[in-house]
Amino acid sequence: MPDERPPEKDLGPLRATVNVAKGLWVTLRHLWRRPITIQYPEQRREPFPRFKGRHVLDRHEDGLEKCIGCELCAGACPADAILVIGAENTPEARYSPGERYAKVYEINYLRCIFCGLCVEACPTEALVMSHAYDLASDSRDSLIFTKDMLIADAPLQRRPSKEDLAAGEDVGDFRILKEGLARARAELGKPQRPAPPGAGGRPPAPEEGRPAGTASLGQSASAEGSPKRTEVLEGAPPARGTQAPGDVPPPDPSAPRPTDENISPR
């Protein structure tokens, strides 16, 4: 077969040497530059405002769950990551304002592609996405998040309405949502199965369980967010008089909580 390559352009020894010298100069200059590495997990980059991280199931102001177990999110999910099994609310055990609530709500983060279609589909805005992104785990089981891991202990602040946005200010993007989520993060702690009742009510201990050097983001949020949590939790469900067994008791504040470090207020 004949050689069909175009004839080679030869640079000539002088040009080639100059080119090599230029290249060497570039690398030498970079030797003294500051590296751009972010040393995760000690250092974290704050996600962009609309970053789609792990989901949170929201509550109403009175502490009832927003999710009505309609399964629309599960239907919308292209990755088939959501499992919802609804059940009827009863006067004795009322979870949500509507007729039904989600008895089982699971998101499989091995499947989820973080597209956010479930959030779009939700008619009650029960489902929102947080900034928590470090979802790595060494077991498959632990990546199937159950309802008690997903649900917020207290109402999240909502995303700004159109009017809010029109009013201008700094509410652009999800600032309000972010602050709400920061609070939620402080309140949620690490996603975990509910602690036995009575474990709550202790003063928050933000330093505990956090590796040294991690404190940069979100610490202040947890410090100011926690008292509000107890307030809401103590206030809301008993007002309805139905402290159902499925209600989420406050998480143990001493539990390690490295997962949600990254939801942080501006």
């Binding site: 060497l24 570039v26 030498l28 590296p35 040393q39």
Partner: protein, 358 residues
Amino acid sequence: MSMTFLADLVVILAKILIVFLVLSVLVIFIVWFERKVVAHMQSRLGPNRWGPFGLLTSVADGMKLMFKEPITPITADHVTFALAPGISMLAAFLAFASIPFGTSVLIFGHRATFEIADLNVGLLWVLAMGSLAVYGVVLAGWSSGSKYPLLGGIRSSAQMISYEIALSLSLIPVVMSAGSLSLRTIVHAQSGVIGSIGWLGPVGGVGKFIPHWYIFYHLPAFLIFLLAGVAETNRPPFDLAEADTELVGGYHTEYSGIKFAMFFLAEYLHVVTISALAVLLFLGGWNGVTPNLPVLGWIWPLLWFVAKVFFFVFLFVWLRATLPRLRYDKLMAVGWRVLIPAALTWLVVSGLAMAGSV
């Protein structure tokens, strides 16, 4: 058997042990150094988890390799497959037997020189051991019984043999100037300063401040040596034998665990050897540009030597971080059409110059 013979034996054994240990530690350090420098040249941080500045990373890597499962492909020629890394490493270590790295020191009334053996053909020995290293690579490539290693081994043998010619040719002018093949003698020939340079006329006096190093006489030979040296060590941009992007890993594709570590060790030892040769032959060895401080005695020359060697090690790393790999035919073209004729030309030119000055 006389007492002096026994004492000599002990001293030699001690030297071998010390050189072996120092080289092993040095290689570990150089691997770290390379990773760190390349990382920073790419705006990264490099290893920083183990020990201060990540210094222990290579130690951890070495331990990991030691405990890894050694895998031998079924198609491999088992004996050769097992021997090849040994040959590589042995040749790399043996090259150091005749490399001097300092003056001498008086221990218990016994004058010990800083080298294992001062051969009168020391340079030849180093080059010979360098060529022996090709066997490790070729046999590894052939015995793996797999195509990538085979290609890598063949490439490497072609490359190393052709560049060795240029390498050796570039050294002959130095040997002619020094009149010896003994590395120690060559270094001694480079002590002092050039002295006033006649043809520079009134500014010829600067020669009194320029050390009498052969790089100032044989600069073209030095550049040829450097290029051929990088090719000889199979380092980027001449790492055709490994060529990760084309040949997976070249000759050591099928190697794992401690055997792979031996190839790794050999490669970095070659870097040190070539750097040491460049220093000894062209940069005056352990002769510093400042007068020796008598207090420091033998430490001062040793420091100079180490500093110069490290300059070259840095150069190797720098080249690796900068230049992409050459295409194979280009590599051979550079070797045969540029370096060898250039080395021959310089050989003739310096020969004529020497004949003229006699």
